[in-house]
Amino acid sequence: MSFVTRGFSGRRRDDNPRLPPGQTLVNDWPVLSAGPTPRVGTAEWELTISDETGADHRWNWDQLLALGVEDVTVDIHCVTHWTRLDMAWRGVSLDRLFENVESGHDFVMAHSYGGYTTNLPLEDLLDGKAWIATEADGEPLDPEHGGPARLLVPHLYFWKSAKWIRGLTMMPDDEPGFWEQNGYHFYGDPWKEERYW
């Protein structure tokens, strides 16, 4: 029974070719939170990659940064319909982290401090497509934005870029993470508008 309310247009939606379908340009950085914000200091922070042999590959904060930090400028597309263009990030390429990981499995579950999870194909994390990000907009990442470190996978919707990242676990099959269990798409390509199941 919906009808138009006179004068209402909502946030501007424009035809910028860099905007995937259904997205709206923003200049700020909205904070999305599905729970309490974990407070993890860099002194206690640790990242683990677990493979099917049971072997763990671990990095503390200094070891992560020692792998080599690079600057990245990318567009960010959130499934809640906002897009930010040309966002400046710094982080460590996942290619560095996976250099010595031998796994026959094709999928990865990302785990966060606080319990959040999201699933990704391994190939979407390699070849310069994903980072462990430690800075954005020239500043260390705030806890609200996933600091001290978050996953950054800009070619997929932003819920895949898990905040407060603490681990990556190799999986033989594509199992759903938190939002993927609860209605969101397993893969999440913004250009195909893969929002929901």
Binding site: S2, T5, R6, G7, F8, S9, G10, R11, P30
Partner: protein, 253 residues
């Protein structure tokens, strides 16, 4: 087996549904808020403290929905809202700046069966604590209390920045009497001739201006997340049972 359908407690109240509403009056409530009167012929009435969802549709089909507390506890047909503008918001700036009499929008409700006050439910006194626009559902409770002649003792503690930021000032003042006491805390600036302190509420001031725990009041607290959490914590420290404190936080995108 019983043939009766299962439902949540208290489900006998009007069922929530979508309704077409026509704006009949828009007036300024505070420098940042408006009071909207809506004519909703199919509205079944609502309990004091309930809320509704407002849905706006753009010509291209884009929709935005937000929740607002209902300021009226009227039997039906008319709904009064008081909407504060959220800076950089998408819906509230439209409602506070663009909307005028004759416009139509959709409302979904009545909603909320928990943060409500029902006349005659028991004889325990009622303490309301409001921060800013959080007074809206509590005003509905105070108005319903006044309108039904319910003898329960009511007290409202209302925290506002400045006198001009207070919602329903005249209506609240008119409700005061033997069974309704109003205390206002000004956090930034007080009216001329104000003898009391100006500044943020603290636990001592809260204790002084609310019904003591020994009288076992029912408490309703509404405001921003930070306000509600602070007040609810202090109330428990002052001896009120957590189960007696009902809260409604507002905020969100």
């Amino acid at each position: 087996m019983s043939a009766q359908p299962l439902a949540p407690p208290g489900a006998a109240r009007p069922r929530a549904a979508w309704h077409a509403a026509t704006v009949t009056d828009v007036r300024r409530e505070t420098p940042t808020a408006v009071r909207l009167t809506l004519d909703v012929p199919t509205w079944p009435g609502s309990e004091a403290g309930a809320h509704l969802d407002v849905r706006l549709t753009a010509p291209d089909g884009y929709q935005a929905t937000r929740s607002y507390s209902i300021a009226s506890a009227t039997p039906g047909g008319v709904v009064v809202l008081a909407v504060d503008e959220v800076p950089d918001g998408e819906v509230s700036p439209f409602l506070t700046r663009e909307l005028r009499s004759g416009d139509q929008l959709e409302v979904h409700g009545p909603l909320g069966a928990f943060f409500v006050w029902r006349p005659g439910q028991d004889d325990r006194p009622v303490q309301l604590v409001a921060g800013g626009s959080g007074v809206v559902p509590l005003y509905a409770m105070a108005a319903a209390h006044g309108a039904t002649g319910d003898g329960t003792f009511f007290r409202l503690l209302y925290s506002v920045r400045r006198p001009e930021d207070a919602f329903f000032s005249d209506e609240l003042a008119a409700l005061t009497g033997p069974s309704f006491e109003l205390d206002v805390v000004y956090t930034r600036a007080a009216p001329e001739g104000w003898a009391g302190p100006v500044g943020r509420l603290d636990k001592g001031a809260l204790a002084a201006a609310t019904i003591p725990a020994s009288h076992r009041p029912r408490l309703y607290v509404c405001g921003s997340t930070r306000f509600v959490e602070t007040i609810a914590t202090w109330l428990q420290e002052l001896g009120h049972a957590a189960a007696d404190i009902r809260t409604e936080r507002f905020g969100g995108l």
